[in-house]
Symmetry: C2
């Protein structure tokens, strides 16, 4: 049972394990509150190894943030590519009831679903939320602003949103962050206001997850 010495694995793989663990711990305790020792324990390795591999705590957090933003960008990029491959804009769109612009209602729903699937990873969600409150930190703030603006440009230039639509999409996303960060979903069915807000938010954003997932199933 003496699993004191971890299996020897390639550094790239270990690096990913550490980032995954760090994402959870930074999310739960914040950048300053998280300790490299907690991260090391979560990753199943020694504390000095974490420090050695990333050179320090700040570099590690930037690594976590970069990984989260990359995953978000990849998910959105792939979603848009699939949407275009499916006959993109108004083509095969059967005219959905939501939004003034049915042409963009479809991609909005697809991106919304992709986003919710991503932030079900609470580590990713919370480390993003932490970064959003750290604009004052030179390196972390710059990285977070850059990532946020990259997503905005993707919405504008690739998904075809106008400024108003892009802003609305981002606002809905920030509300989703808050409801999940707060764990307000725990009050679903217990509190009338919580139940109404959750149903309204998830229905509007996803137009029922199952419906969209059903569409994906039909394509397969």
């Amino acid at each position: 049972m003496t699993d004191k010495i971890s299996e020897r694995i390639p550094s790239a793989e270990r690096r990913e394990q550490i980032l995954e663990a760090a994402s959870r711990v930074f999310g739960e305790r914040g950048y300053f509150g998280a300790t490299t020792d907690q991260i090391a324990k979560a990753a199943g390795i020694s504390q000095p190894y974490v420090v050695r591999m990333f050179g320090g705590k700040e570099n590690l957090f930037v690594g976590v943030l970069t990984r989260s933003l990359d995953r978000l960008l990849v998910a959105f990029t792939e979603t848009i590519a699939q949407w275009k491959a499916d006959g993109s804009p108004a083509a095969t769109d059967p005219g959905y009831p939501i939004g003034k612009n049915p042409k963009h209602g479809e991609i909005g729903r697809r991106l919304g679903l992709a986003y919710v699937n991503l932030i079900e990873d609470r580590g990713l969600l919370l480390s993003l939320m932490q970064a959003f409150s750290m604009g004052q930190d030179p390196s972390i703030g710059a990285k977070a602003r850059g990532g946020f603006l990259t997503i905005y440009r993707l919405l504008r230039e690739e998904a075809g949103f106008d400024p108003e639509e892009a802003r609305g999409f981002l606002a809905e996303g920030m509300l989703l962050n808050t409801l999940l960060g707060l764990r307000l979903t725990d009050d679903y069915g217990k509190d009338d206001a919580a139940t109404e807000l959750i149903e309204c938010t998830f229905r509007t954003k996803l137009q029922l997850v199952l419906e969209v997932q059903g569409d994906e199933g039909e394509r397969a």
Copy 2:
């Protein structure tokens, strides 16, 4: 120059000073990352006194959160009362269809302005954002969820929003939090995407701050 011993002041006043200082420090460093010593220095008193007055760090954070939520609730309550006193449709006709009525956009703008004025206090903004990412903490999470739902009920029952309007208002608020937390406003005029997003967000939310402030001036 030996200002080692602070002036002797009433505990209620000192308590408020500590909460104000704690709001800033908790906001910048997070709950776990903030230290009672940093808070004490920011308040100009000794660290043990901070601990003694609040009984501990967790109580202190709950105090900060309670104060922030109270300020928000008071600001919104007063804004709604003023709106009704100014002769809103809802005030004169209980059965007034608030839905998509243009006159109803008025209370949204007023509440939005009140909100932006509040979160210009970065300590308040960031401590709220921290709380929104702490749903997993038993006492802090419960307090934060309760406060968020209280605001939701106020929008629904007092401001006359329907579920969709309330959700949209909250979403816009969460986007404002993010843009300010990120300090994305620092990129205004420097980055095209940032400039567009900021102009779109603040124009939509406030319908030009000056316009509303002008209305207030006319009443005076």
